[in-house]
Amino acid sequence: MPDPRLLVVAQRYGDVAGGAELHARQLATRLAGAGVDVEIATTTARDYWTWRNEFPAGEDRIDGLRVRRFAVAAPRAPEFRRAERAAFAEGHSLADERAFIEAQGPVVPELLDFLMREGDGYDHILFFTYIYYPTVYGLPLVADRAVLVPTAHDEPAIRLTTYRALFHAPRAIAFNTAEEREMVQRLFRNARIPNEVVGVGVDVAPSPSAERFRAAHGIEGPILLYVGRIVESKGCDELFAFFTRWRELAPDAHRATLVVAGHAEMRIPDRPDVRHVGYLSDAEKFDAYDACDVFVMPSRYESLSMVALEAWAMGRPLLCHAECEVLRGMSRRAGAGLYYRSFAEFAEAVELLLSDGDARARLGARGRRFVDTTYTWPRVIETYLDLFAEVRARNRS
């Protein structure tokens, strides 16, 4: 019997930054290793903001898998922010919503035509991320074999009428967390769609070294670490404000360095206790986890924080924003983190975590256990294979 055929549809693929894109690539590669015949349909864009055509259109091979790239017909529109404001405003129209989706992009009509032409040749088609054009218009073309990985969080876009059908059409839904599933089912009343909380597996780099990281960057003393895009939408402005205020309250007693790693899209405070170490390789990132005392995730909007899982896998406690339902829920279930919704709570949590090594170790150990039992690749792959088998069974003649 031939291997089941899977098409993975993602807005970008390959050597690109981005959590959902990394998730898609890791999953595609591992499913191929588990005997699934995997192909990828994606765009020629590398940058998620401009969607500029940077990869050549046509066939590519990545990690041994066939990748079909389709040209972006229209980049993110210059008036995107205006379209977004209009679509998110009270009393907006359907036309506002459609204008927002088109302005957001990436507009890839040739990918839709490919799905119409060739979609039936695949046993299952995995769509990554609910929000972008390829999923909004592509998934309904192959609904009977579609599995949606929504990577949804509670944000204004998910309440748009235009997205509603997406959550009722697929054959199955793969959620990243129990919190994401609860939110989606509350918003859409779509519990009848077969689904699983799947997530991703966490790979820990071999031989991480705190000393190597501290030596490379000349950092001593306690470290609070953030890894990710350094941008206001991830809550980094508030993190910088809270951290500097906490330090200035008692500069001698409140000793710590806030280390931020990733691409900076906003101004970073120019002071010795805030260190931007740039984009880290995988090995360097795990050195940083090993060096830190507390991992901080200030974002209010996360469907799954890969870096938080990695920090937990390294036995570090998490400090997250209380308004991020996903991370707060995971912290509660894992018993592996604290959360804040104000400066006072941030300060109290930081002081507790930095002054009480036992508490830190206890929380970190629980985080490691949580990742070891929930976010492992064998479990993830087995769950996807079960979902795919269900899709095939329902489509069997």
Binding site: L94, P109, P140, L141, R164, A169, R394
Partner: protein, 191 residues
């Protein structure tokens, strides 16, 4: 007697649909949405509240297979963008929205706006192309589907593989039609 808010979306209120709607209005708090030359509300018969939505010329689509298929579906008419805006803004007023005829653009483009409360009576023709957009996903979306008979059900299920959508066999008239429709509404609300 069931007294819950129901919106019926249909391209025409001519017979036999009109008689069916009048019987429905005796059992449900019913409003009907239908196209018309001008927008407005009217009461027809004894208690049929009708909202008319003005028809418009559908936008032309020529760019690629997908857009052409969508353009063809719109061009079947009637095209009523104000009805879609009404569903977008006012859907929460209704416990369920019943769509008549899958091929009508009112259904093909209206039902996806309210899948969580949609009931579809597809009225599939013999020459229907159910695999083309926007119809292929349409049959997976509603809370429940009312097929006229097993022949229609088998045809739709074979073409769209939507066996997991709850259904009832429901006619617009004939003995047992009203009871079958009431079961369909109950299925949609509670299944």
């Amino acid at each position: 007697m069931n007294r819950l808010e129901l919106l019926a979306v249909c391209a025409s209120v001519d017979e036999p649909v009109r008689s069916w709607l009048e019987r429905l209005a005796r059992r449900y708090l019913l409003e009907v949405a239908a196209p018309g030359p001008t927008a407005g509300t009217e009461t027809i018969g004894e208690q049929l509240e009708l909202r008319r939505f003005a028809t418009a010329t559908p936008p032309q689509e020529h760019d690629g297979r997908f857009r052409e298929a969508v353009g063809r579906a719109r061009a079947r008419g009637p095209w009523t963008p104000d009805l879609f805006e009404f569903l977008h803004h006012e859907h929460a007023r209704y416990r369920a929205v019943v769509f008549l005829s899958y091929a009508s653009p009112l259904t093909a483009f209206g039902l996806p706006l309210v899948p969580e409360r949609a009931i579809l009576l597809p009225l599939v023709d013999d020459d229907a192309d159910l695999g083309a957009p926007p119809y292929r996903a349409l049959f997976h979306l509603p809370r429940a589907i009312g097929y006229r008979d097993d022949v229609e059900r088998e045809r739709v299920q074979r073409a769209t593989r939507n066996e997991d959508v709850p259904y009832e066999l429901v006619g617009l008239d004939g003995s047992g039609a009203d009871a079958a429709f009431d079961r369909l509404v109950a299925t949609a609300l509670h299944a």
